[in-house]
């Protein structure tokens, strides 16, 4: 937790929530619910972010087309795109603060969109789930290919799309761990895009 966030949480009287969670004092936590429900949504998000970092770390598990059940307390939050927005972020943050310790708070991107799901990761969410689709909404089949140029340069669309999702997570300074069919997790990185327009080397600033 940065000093800035700590000071903001302290000024809003929200640091006690962290103490209540750390001590497992559920009665105290329940008594704090009205305070949290009326708290500023950004501060609530910052609080949930601290809780998430402390309990489950910054890695993000991604369930793309994979079975969702990997054990442990799990809360799924999803909805149509109409549900995106500040009320949804508040819901995610409250879920984190009031869920059992180390709970999996999972946000679905199918309806909300990957952009908004990415933002939810700063509000306490720790996992993402959804189907891998093309831009037009069509599901990506296992044999679909994607890419530019010659056929030999095409890649499995599933792989390309997983990299796209991984990019959303690395841009949010997270590590993407994709669930696999055998129940393990595989790390994906945001590999540089093959292009002659790659960023130039370091630029001297004035």
């Amino acid at each position: 937790m940065t000093p800035l966030v700590e000071r903001a949480l302290s000024n809003a009287g929200l640091l006690v929530v962290l103490d209540a969670r750390a001590s497992g004092d559920e009665a105290h936590l329940a008594a704090l619910r009205p305070l949290l429900e009326s708290a500023d949504w950004m501060l609530l998000g910052a609080l949930a972010d601290v809780v998430r970092d402390r309990e489950v770390g910054r890695a993000v598990r991604v369930f793309a087309n994979e079975p969702l059940d990997h054990g442990g307390a799990c809360i799924d939050l999803e909805g149509p795109r109409d549900d995106a927005g500040i009320p949804f972020l508040r819901r995610v943050a409250l879920a984190r603060v009031f869920s059992p310790v180390n709970a999996r708070i999972r946000v679905g991107w199918d309806g909300l969109g990957l952009e908004f799901a990415q933002v939810a990761l700063s509000f306490g969410a720790s996992e993402l789930f959804g189907a891998i689709r093309f831009k037009d909404g069509e599901l990506v089949t296992v044999d679909a290919l994607l890419g530019h140029g010659k056929k030999s340069r095409l890649e499995p669309a599933q792989l390309v799309k997983r990299r796209e999702i991984a990019r959303f997570l690395t841009r949010a300074r997270r590590t993407a761990l994709f669930a696999t069919a055998d129940g393990t997790f595989e790390e994906y990185t945001d590999e540089p895009v093959a292009t002659d327009l790659a960023p130039s080397p370091e630029l001297a600033l004035p």
């Binding site: 940065t2 000093p3 800035l4 966030v5 903001a8 500023d40 949504w41 950004m42 998000g45 910052a46 972010d49 910054r58 795109r81 109409d82 549900d83 995106a84 927005g85 500040i86 009320p87 972020l89 969109g113 952009e115 908004f116 990415q118 933002v119 700063s122 831009k135 530019h148 796209e164 990019r167 959303f168 841009r171 949010a172 300074r173 895009v193 093959a194 292009t195 327009l197 790659a198 960023p199 130039s200 370091e202 630029l203 600033l205 004035p206």
Partner: protein, 386 residues
């Protein structure tokens, strides 16, 4: 000298000290997004409290024929005879306003391609016609790139171009065409139009004439964080000199259908981070705008706590970003903007182009007939209230 940290930057921001290039770069690399957002929000609230501005405006793009071949553009057609190329007749362009006179916009925002075949009088008549239809409408027209093109193409100085356009009705300049100023990037993505220095010079001349303008930055393509910082500092420097900029608008690159379609678009977190850093670095800009067309209305709403104090306007019919794959609605209704702002815990303030207050909403005040969205795309983004 020690490297800046979030703590040292926070101290500077709270003391009202100016951030350096190194500070800005450190913020781009800082993982704590919400901390950066809080800091930007501190500055935003110090300037504007909860007030969040928007206006009733209308976009018109009279021609997409453009002799520039910018790699990021999905809107332009290089030749007038190419499929999809379109240039409105003056009557067509004026009709865009005439058909909206039952609920007229306060501002018309005109941005076009660089059409080599139109006479300069076309643009003068365009403005005169809008003023004939609605004398008090504010005409925010032609980017710095267009003004530079007019000067070259019609063999005038920038000052002469602006003088003639002001005589025809021009009131201010939009901020488009800035892209990324640094020549390393500009040469690669838009080599055949105004350079960064030329764009800045157009705005310098406009400000000297008393015209106000906005500024933008197109980010998330081939540029580095250093290039973004360089861009912001150049704007800050000119603003120190002229004080003519009103708002800064970060614009996210969209890759569909253009020469950089193999690049990924920036993500929502990058949008929020860039917006926050803009608020912190541009300490001499009054307003930072969350352009909902570029980022979607929902992310723009969230941005109101990441340094933004303006949500642009109703727009009505945007085509440039939509050609590049934007999934935002093409226009928002007045009431939708009010609701988006209010749900972010802010006070909606309708402004004119020059930020004079038109209407400040009281708590819980609902604009009449407002809660309908304009089209099917919008309905995907916005819940329709009963």
């Amino acid at each position: 000298m020690t490297a800046p940290t979030l703590a040292t930057i926070t101290t500077k921001v709270h003391a009202g000290e100016r951030l350096t290039a190194d500070d800005a770069l450190a913020l781009f690399l800082e993982p704590d997004l919400l901390a950066i957002g809080q800091l930007a929000n501190f500055v935003r609230e110090k300037r504007h409290g909860d007030r969040t501005f928007f206006n009733k405006n209308m976009r018109v793009e009279v021609t997409n024929v453009c002799m520039a071949s910018c790699l990021f553009c999905s809107f332009a057609k290089l030749e007038a005879h190419m499929p999809g190329a379109h240039t409105m007749s003056l009557d067509e362009a004026w009709r865009e306003l005439e058909t909206r006179m039952d609920d007229p916009p306060g501002e018309i925002h005109v941005v076009n391609g660089l059409h080599p075949g139109l006479p300069f009088s076309y643009y003068e008549e365009l403005l005169k016609g809008y003023k004939r239809i609605k004398p008090d409408v504010h005409l925010k027209c032609f980017t710095g790139v267009e003004i530079h093109f007019f000067a070259q193409h019609y063999k005038m100085t920038v000052r002469e171009v602006l003088d003639r356009l002001v005589l025809a009705g021009l009131d201010s300049l939009p901020g488009g065409g800035a892209e990324i100023f640094h020549p390393d990037v500009r040469k690669r993505i838009s080599d055949d139009k105004a350079t960064g220095d030329e764009w800045l010079e157009v705005h310098r001349v406009a400000h000297a004439m008393g015209l106000r303008s906005n500024a933008t930055m197109l980010y998330g393509h081939v540029e580095t964080f250093e290039h973004r910082v360089d861009h912001l500092l150049k704007l800050r420097e000119l603003q120190d000199e002229t004080k003519g900029f009103q708002a800064f608008i970060p614009l996210a690159f969209h890759p569909d259908g253009n020469g950089m379609k193999n690049l990924p678009a920036p993500t929502a977190v990058d949008d929020l981070r860039t917006l926050s850093i803009s608020r912190l670095v541009l300490d001499n800009f009054d307003h930072i705008k969350a352009y909902w067309v570029s980022s979607t209305p929902k992310i723009a709403q969230v941005a109101l706590r990441f340094g933004a104090d303006d949500m642009d306007g109703t727009i009505v019919h945007e085509t440039i970003y939509h050609a590049a794959g934007s999934t935002s609605p093409q226009g928002l209704l007045y009431g939708d903007l009010v609701r988006l702002i209010r749900e972010a815990g802010r006070t909606p303030v309708e402004r004119d182009t020059l930020y004079n207050v038109v209407r400040e909403f009281a708590p819980n005040e609902v604009p009449e007939g407002a809660m309908k969205v304009r089209d099917r795309k919008a309905q995907k983004h916005l819940a329709v209230l009963p």
